[in-house]
Symmetry: C2
Subunit: 238 residues, 2 copies
């Protein structure tokens, strides 16, 4: 059969051309999130290609989080892009062996920006929550608890940034290296000396946010990063 994907590119592989066509339909609003795509057999007819090619295109769209295939039902447009970013970044690690230091620096960039935005956007309710978390942490005896509280603290601050992209990606970063982070968090949080220092830094962070003081918040976060970096340097067994 003659390869004929509408009025489109013939240099690409068929499935790539199909992806483009479907993307265009999404951009033009012909297909919207939540909506169901035409059946595969129909798409095949429409684009005048085999169902195989359609399916190869759909597979990539699925891994990219654009669609979700449900056997017996259909292919649905979704907005689940996190999945693809997680996959991508995991692969980045797998293939390029990005070192932990670079990764943490990347994370710090987002955390810091989130904090700076939080200074401008945080409301009193969240401030209170932060203060509670910090005081809970001060009292907590259990290292696992402290670790959980620590995560909550950072998540809450990130959430206050009001930047959904940064929030999402910080979330993804946590997931990508969740094991690593969990372990290190608990390692750091099990040394009594570090606990005291971190507690103080956390208090400074929250105070900075409460005062809506950019400089103080920046300083506190920087201290926090330095502490982590110092830890990474002295424990570079990775």
């Amino acid at each position: 059969m003659e390869k004929n994907v509408g009025k489109f590119d013939n240099s690409k592989k068929t499935y790539e051309a199909i992806i483009d066509l479907i993307k265009i339909d999404i951009m033009n609003g012909k297909i919207k999130p939540g909506q169901k795509l035409p059946p595969e057999r129909e798409l095949a007819k429409k684009f005048n290609v085999s169902r195989t090619s359609i399916r190869e295109a759909l597979r990539t769209l699925e891994i990219l989080g654009v669609i979700k295939s449900v056997q017996g039902s259909g292919n649905y447009i979704t907005g689940d892009v996190e999945k693809s970013l997680i996959e991508s970044m995991s692969m980045m690690f797998l293939l390029q062996q990005i070192d932990s230091l670079e990764f943490y620096q990347f994370r710090e960039a987002l955390e810091l920006k989130a904090a700076m935005l939080a200074v401008q956007n945080i409301d009193d309710e969240k401030i209170m929550k932060l203060e509670e978390l910090v005081s809970e942490m001060a009292q907590s005896e259990d290292e696992a608890d402290r670790s959980a509280l620590d995560k909550q603290l950072h998540d809450t601050i990130a959430a206050a940034s009001n930047n959904s992209m940064i929030i999402q990606i910080l979330d993804i970063l946590s997931e990508v290296i969740s094991k690593d982070i969990k372990q290190r968090r608990s390692e750091i949080l099990s040394d009594p000396d570090n606990i005291k220092r971190l507690q103080k830094i956390h208090e400074e962070m929250v105070y900075g946010l409460k005062q809506r003081d950019l400089q103080a918040t920046y300083a506190a976060f920087t201290k926090h990063f330095d502490l982590i970096a110092e830890y990474l340097r002295t424990n570079q067994d990775y």
Copy 2:
């Protein structure tokens, strides 16, 4: 035929299980970047599934930048993860309509961190290059030239961060919204008043780096962001 992907997961779709198996082979060092995978027909036999399923798995690995298929030759492991990140982020835009402000803030986070790292890592050669760029910009009459120089300036600073992950992602961000950025850059750089302000800010940035002065560099970059943000606010036609 009985579905039997080695000793592995039966709840997933076949192609997903295959991906996992191949990933495992990569992690274990059985397959390394640059190397060729076994032929599809062979993989099918090895995993006891159809070539169709193998191919669906390979397609997703290809879009993720893990492999590259060459007709007549084979499937090769690559490290081209940028591609997948670009795809992912494009889709993020396509489906979630992240607004420009959030996107620029994300970008600022990385630029700022890159600058902070550059303060610690930049060498004299790069400093000289930056000074040249700034002085060229001052003299340039052509708006397209200024735009190109501006990009070079930012790229050079990012490069001095020595964090390849941040460099890569900044690169990707540029590509994802290259059209948008290009347009805005030139818009901003065509207003005489902005040109003067930006010139001054660029000088401050480079001076801060030259002095290895964190605070000064931070301040200069912040000013830069504010200028952009101000522009976005007063031109929110998007």
